[in-house]
């Protein structure tokens, strides 16, 4: 079955990251266009893969934030994001700065940049390590509630809780657990200060 753009957008809004088949279609259909573009621009296959995957992440967040309004097709929009990310990478590495300025965008750069991956590896690793310490169930609850922003009733359904209220209580407990983990570790306190 081939999904339409509208179905993909609706699915990402409803099911978040769990919509594997929608993401798989996006990946399968648009991969070659982006790979060809990056490789024609002297990029490696690995760079093309990074740009493409990061582009889908940005697209996902744009859709979730209601910023994709269907004025172009999903494929065109995704390609524009990947082009922007690629030109930004070239500029950062001082390979070509002019391409970024000449690139017309169907979005503002401010829309995209907050989603960019954190460049500071130490900070990122610490964030992953702290989160790992709160247990699998808490990780899932907080990701559903704060990252995917799905309703408490849906979280209850996905996690097998009896009600949305139980999911809500679990979310508060998990927030407290994460705070406890952060408070017990001096590196985490430093992270809090750095991220202010």
């Amino acid at each position: 079955m081939r999904y339409t753009d509208q179905q993909i957008v609706a699915g990402l809004l409803a099911g978040g990251r769990g919509e594997h088949s929608l993401l798989k279609q996006l990946y399968q259909v648009h991969q070659s266009t982006v790979f060809r573009f990056v490789q024609e621009q002297q990029g490696s296959k690995a760079e093309a893969k990074d740009i493409f995957q990061e582009g889908i992440l940005v697209l996902y967040k744009q859709v979730r934030a209601g910023k994709f309004r269907g004025e172009s097709s999903l494929g065109t929009y995704l390609f524009s994001i990947c082009k922007y990310l690629w030109f930004q990478k070239l500029k950062k590495e001082s390979r070509r700065a002019d391409l970024l300025e000449r690139q017309p965008l169907p979005f503002t750069a401010q829309d995209i940049d907050p989603y960019r991956k954190m460049e500071d590896k130490e900070q990122r690793d610490l964030m992953l390590t702290l989160f790992q310490q709160i247990g699998e169930q808490c990780r899932k609850v907080l990701l559903f509630a704060l990252y995917d922003e799905i309703s408490m009733d849906e979280i209850a359904q996905k996690m097998g809780f009896k009600s949305g209220q139980i999911a809500r209580n679990k979310k508060y407990k998990c927030l407290k657990r994460l705070k406890k983990v952060m408070n017990e570790q001096p590196e985490a306190q430093a992270l809090v200060r750095e991220l202010r």
Binding site: R17, H20, K24, Q53, I56, F131, E136, K158
Partner: protein
């Protein structure tokens, strides 16, 4: 901290409060240093969750990439088999004409066929980003694994698996892959390795569940294989849900 205050903080940081509520809450924050501290902590929590969500999303895309590569690899293998074995295929056609296409269609697929069409060894950890040499964190030289020398790779991984290391689940995961690729394969050892992966707390659960079900298939243990595929197929959020459902149709 009251739960409703936590909710207000979250909505404030996400910009979901009305202009009036936002101003009122900003005034409260300015007058209350404890509340300011809570805001800072929640801001960090949101960033931690966002970093982890992004990491999981990218890991999911990586799984899709591998999944597509597996499917294309399977197709490629099929094409190679078809090319090399055209004479055998022709003989099969003659045989089919004798037995009738209807009878042939009813021939069940063997567990070995199913395993072969769904299993490709998981790639060795790649550098996390193309401009870095950092991999998933195991201090392992992956050369043997990448070269297909699964016995040598298993010899290294078995030592790490025995250590009380937070990343030993990864050693077990790849050890399971090696056991399935050895000649002759060791599916019982692979089953134990994947079960050890599932005993630990990490984000490789879905991959381990899938490969455990495949290992049971390889071991010709259809009851356990069926049970594990069913568990995956009935979880709509599972990455391998559709594939498991397809295998169950054949089983």
């Amino acid at each position: 901290m009251e739960n409703h205050t936590l909710d207000r903080i979250e909505q404030y940081l996400k910009g979901n409060l009305s202009a009036e509520e936002h101003t009122r809450f900003s005034d409260e924050i300015a007058a209350d240093s404890d509340l300011k501290e809570e805001i800072d902590q929640m801001q960090t929590i949101l960033k931690i969750v966002s970093a982890n969500g992004d990491a999981q999303f990218l890991a999911q895309l990586e799984m899709i990439d591998r999944d597509l590569a597996t499917e294309n690899g399977g197709l490629g293998r099929l094409k190679r088999i078809r090319w090399v074995s055209w004479a055998v295929a022709a003989a099969i056609v003659v045989l089919l004409s004798t037995w009738g296409i209807f009878q042939w269609n009813k021939t069940p697929v063997t567990p070995e066929d199913l395993f072969a069409s769904h299993f490709l060894p998981y790639d060795a950890p790649q550098p996390i980003r193309s401009n870095s040499s950092e991999t998933a964190g195991l201090p392992v030289d992956w050369t043997a694994y990448r070269a297909g020398d699964y016995q040598a790779a298993a010899d290294v991984l078995v030592g790490i698996s025995a250590e009380e290391d937070a990343l030993s689940y990864l050693a077990d995961f790849y050890l399971g892959q090696c056991y399935l690729m050895l000649n002759p394969p060791q599916p019982q050892l692979a089953i134990k390795a994947f079960e050890r992966v599932l005993e630990k707390d990490h984000d490789y659960r879905e991959q381990a569940e899938w490969y455990l079900a495949l290992a049971y298939l390889k071991a010709d243990d259809l009851d356990d294989s069926h049970a594990h595929f069913e568990e995956i197929a009935t979880n709509p959020d599972h990455f391998y849900q559709e594939k498991a459902a397809k295998i169950l149709e054949s089983l």
